[in-house]
Amino acid sequence: MQVEVTVNGQAHVLEVADNTLLVELLRENLGLTGTHVGCDTSQCGACTVHMDGRSVKACTVLAAQAQGAEVVTIEGIGSADALHPMQEAFRDCHALQCGFCTPGMIMSAIDLVSRNPGIDNAGVRAGLEGNICRCTGYHNIVRAVIQAAQNM
């Protein structure tokens, strides 16, 4: 089947198998390997991207469902010389260790903060409940999200 989708501002028309997941389209067809796969039960959030302005788990969305959508991935929110405030805050607060959960965590956090400006510690913890990090113990992730919330 054919999917028309805009990813990080660029329009694509792609030929994919019917059962292709959005995360596969991003990683395999477009080579956007910043979006990771950490589980097969929609539990870890490593694959989180934005679709039409909302965070979604890209392992749980069919490519077909992204027909006509605007998708933004970790590669699309900032660049090495112009980081998104959330990226900046993650680096500043040492909110990542191995970095594997990080893209999904950042994408979830951006969505969380944009829907809840002024969010507090408990709000961040509850809001990031769908993203697992095995390295950081979350302490510095929570700090980073609150810091970014003040700069977004």
């Binding site: 198998a17 059962n19 990683r27 956007l32 390997t33 910043g34 979006t35 990771h36 796969v37 950490g38 589980c39 097969d40 039960t41 539990q43 870890c44 490593a46 991935t73 970790i74 590669e75 900032g78 660049s79 090495a80 980081l83 990226q87 993650f90 680096r91 500043d92 040492h94 990542l96 260790q97 191995c98 970095g99 594997f100 959960c101 990080t102 893209p103 950042i106 510690n121 408990a122 961040v124 913890r125 509850a126 990031l128 409940e129 993203n131 697992i132 990090c133 095995r134 390295c135 950081t136 113990g137 979350y138 302490h139 510095n140 992730i141 929570v142």
Partner: protein, 780 residues
């Protein structure tokens, strides 16, 4: 060099920019032209004979390139996966190691054990083909229960009683005698729950074979690529070492689970050679649950004897350790030398005896997981000490303090084979008690009671042996390899520096901390130092990262290499400055003639070494030095962790309300990174105490095989953490460092459970303290 980027500075990490922008390169992100994909045939049974494998239908599927089994692997002459640590039994005989073919040939012994590999042109086709393979098994009764296992049928023909070893440490007679004389004996039974490591990046492998050169390349998620190359060459004999390159690119966490030499990575490389095209495999999370080595899983009886003044006089420990179906790479050493040796804890208990039975069961192999033996030991010691305090009606902190090894007693030889080099245990205890406002706990309990909550506080005073390891000692105790580390520093002609280390970073931030160390030692800019690791083609040798060893052993190797750079640079500078060698001082990146204003920078000396016109006659050109560092002793990080919990009496839910960690890691290179390591370790420890449990049913089926049923700690399960430090520098390595990677996971389980016990007023609670267990305990 800017001091704010040297040793001790909280420098932001070099590696972060690529990770926060999505440009990290993990194994699954890599692809090769013509690449094929692998799926594994895995046993659905915990114990069965393989009678027949029929793969015609699978092979006929379009896109399938090969279906390969253990039979073909054996025909190709590949050897077994070895266990790297030979444990001696009580009677002096060797442990009994069952054969472990990478792909099972005649029998399967745990659910998920691989016995074949399907190679196809897409993942979907490979998975579909794997479904089309029909395998005829003869099901056998699985041996799952750790207690019954030694009285059950043999899992492996050559292993009587399913016992890999019966091991002991310490003086049994003296301990028995002291226990007899004790005024009070506290005895408890302890379960250390099976954990499933769950690094967020699943294991993956990409195998490449070049027929014309016979070069084999394996990209894989390894914590120790050189060890992987060594084992694959020397034991599995897949390819000679000089024709095998193992590359561990960005690796998404390990916690021990990526140390081991596994079947799948081996099979992928072998399959790539068989089919003549690159082959890639990435584990699904479901596969990771089944086929990554698990951690812990002990049953222990412990007795602590005290005299009438509450001095510890004897500790007797008897443990049954579940090793799973096969001995994984370091599986034998974890419940023995990394466990029994830590039973003195922080205390001057004079008589200790530990015995451990290592038992095979039809479950996934069990091996090192963050802390590896030391969390289990700490849990035993700190639970029994806590219980003794409660039985005797004394304050648990006071009882600990009374029995601690005093700061003037170092070096301190324990009754269980270690010599603690340095420490000040009371200092970390005091600091933690102050941070916890320990004296006011009664008020907080009363306040919580007013809200219908039971509040409790729990301590864990832990010690660990890190910086693995003095090679001679380790080899004498059964290790199959030395445990030194290598490092190399190349000062490039233009004065910047490339550093090669045999340590491997998979989240620890070595690219930053090792650069800080080298920048500091050589007086160059932090940004002028690049750290290379994880590639046997670029780094000479290495033992990798585990056991909190990287800075203590790998960092020390780099210090040695830096010393050699300075020594050679001094000779060059003396020549160029027409001075005597003895008159050259090196500081802040400058070689200076003492009491003069004549000096040369490291960069100038480096340039001269590569363009050797004005150069000493008898000196080789170039400014590049290597060092191997073999530690004299282990390092002994120690500290006090204090957890405070509130238990909801209606639901049994335990809320962790505060956690304080005061650790003595010796000198710290980057406090930001060290704190992060503590945070991560603590939350893994909290996970063990409250949430995580790998459970098999009596048929050997894993009941907790996904994130739906294996409860990982999430952001809302834990509070902000308080992390602080005391410092007694390690006296025997050049940086005075001890290592920080495992402490959190070592101290936290005992601290949390002691807090739950305090809240409930009953000792009868096992990990994980789930709401159901706690609620039942509350019903009495």
């Amino acid at each position: 060099m800017a001091k704010e980027q040297g040793i001790g500075a909280a420098v932001k990490r070099k590696e972060d920019l690529r990770f926060i922008t999505g440009s990290g390169r993990y194994t699954d992100d890599l692809n090769q032209p013509g690449q094929l994909y692998a799926a594994f045939l895995r046993s659905p049974y915990a114990r069965a004979d393989i009678l027949d494998i029929r793969s015609e239908e699978a092979e006929a599927l379009e896109g399938v390139v090969a279906v390969l089994t253990g039979v073909q692997m054996a025909e190709d002459g590949l050897g077994d996966l070895p266990c790297g640590w030979q444990v001696k039994q009580k009677d002096g005989s060797d442990m009994v190691s069952a054969p472990h073919p990478p792909l099972a040939v005649q029998a399967v012994n745990y659910v998920g054990e691989p016995y074949g590999i399907v190679v196809a042109d897409s993942i979907a086709t490979a998975l579909q083909a794997a479904e089309l393979v029909t395998t005829e098994f003869r099901e056998l009764d699985p041996i799952v229960d750790l207690v019954l296992a030694t009285d059950s049928e043999r899992i492996h023909a050559d292993v009587a009683r399913n016992l890999a070893y019966d091991w002991e440490l310490g003086d049994a007679e003296a301990t028995d005698a002291a226990m007899q004389r004790a005024a009070h004996v506290t005895r408890i039974e302890i379960t250390n729950n099976r954990l499933i490591p769950n690094a967020m990046e699943p294991r993956a492998a990409l195998g490449i074979y070049e027929a014309a050169t016979e070069e084999h390349t394996l990209y894989t998620t390894s914590q120790n690529p050189h060890l992987e190359r060594l084992v694959l060459s020397a034991f599995v004999q897949i390819a000679p070492e000089h024709k095998l390159r193992v590359i561990a690119p960005d690796v998404g966490g390990g916690f021990g689970s990526k140390i081991f030499i596994y079947a799948e990575e081996t099979a992928v490389l072998w399959a790539a050679r068989r089919v003549g095209r690159p082959v890639k495999w990435t584990a699904s999370r479901s596969e990771a649950f089944l086929a990554d080595a698990h951690g812990r899983d002990h049953l222990t009886t412990v007795e602590l004897g005290l005299d009438a003044q509450n001095n510890f006089v004897a500790l007797r420990v008897s443990t049954r350790a579940n090793l799973g179906a096969y001995l994984s790479t370091f599986g034998s050493s974890v419940p023995t030398y990394l466990y029994g040796t830590l039973m003195a804890g922080q205390y001057r208990t004079p008589n200790i005896h530990v015995e451990v039975s290592g038992v095979y069961t039809n479950t996934s192999p069990v091996d090192a997981y963050r802390g590896a033996g030391r969390p289990e030991a700490t849990y035993v010691v700190e639970r029994v000490v806590e219980t003794a305090a409660r039985e005797l009606g004394v304050d648990p902190a006071d009882l600990r303090r009374k029995n601690m090894i005093p700061p003037d007693a170092f070096p301190y030889e324990t009754p269980v084979a270690l010599v603690y080099d340095t420490g000040n245990y009371e200092a970390s205890l005091d600091k933690a008690l102050a941070l916890a406002d320990y004296v006011a706990i009664a008020e907080r309990k009363a306040e919580a009671a007013g809200r219908g909550k039971r509040r409790g506080i729990g301590l864990a005073c832990y010690i660990e042996a890190c910086g693995l390891a003095p090679s001679k000692l380790a080899i004498a105790l059964g290790a199959g390899v030395g445990l030194y580390e290598s490092g190399e520093i190349r000062v490039n002609p233009t004065g910047n520096v490339t550093v090669f280390t045999g340590s491997h970073s998979h989240g620890q931030g070595h690219e930053t901390t090792f650069a800080q160390v080298v920048a500091d030692r050589l007086g160059v800019e932090f940004d002028a130092v690049e750290v290379v690791h994880g590639d046997t083609g670029r780094v000479e040798f290495g033992l990798g990262t585990y056991g909190s060893r990287s800075i203590a052993v790998g960092g020390s190797a780099l210090c040695r290499a830096a010393d050699k750079i300075i020594a050679k640079g001094s000779r060059i500078a003396a020549h160029m400055l027409e001075a005597e060698l003895e008159d050259i001082d090196f500081a802040d990146g400058q070689f200076q003639v003492r009491d003069s204003n004549r000096s040369l920078s490291l960069g100038e000396v480096a340039f001269a070494s590569y363009v050797p016109a004005d150069y000493p006659e008898d000196l080789e050109p170039g400014l590049s030095e290597k060092a191997f560092y073999d530690p004299e002793n282990f390092t002994y990080p120690a500290g006090t962790h204090i957890a405070e919990v509130e238990v909801d009496v209606d639901t049994g839910v335990v809320e962790l309300v505060s956690f304080i960690a005061v650790d003595d890691f010796g000198h710290v290179i980057n406090p930001m990174i060290v704190e992060g390591q503590v945070h991560g370790g603590v939350v893994q420890g909290v996970g063990q105490a409250l949430l995580e449990h790998g459970i098999y049913d009596d048929q050997g089926q894993l009941q907790t095989g996904s994130y739906m049923d294996y409860c990982m700690p999430r952001a809302d399960d834990v509070p902000d953490l308080v992390v602080d430090a005391t410092v007694t520098p390690c006296p025997h390595n050049p940086l005075g460092v001890k290592g920080c990677g495992e402490a959190g996971a070592i101290g936290a389980p005992a601290a949390v459970i002691n807090a739950v016990v305090d809240a409930l007023g009953t000792n009868d609670i096992s990990m994980p303290a789930t709401p159901e267990k706690v609620w039942r305990a509350l019903q009495g």
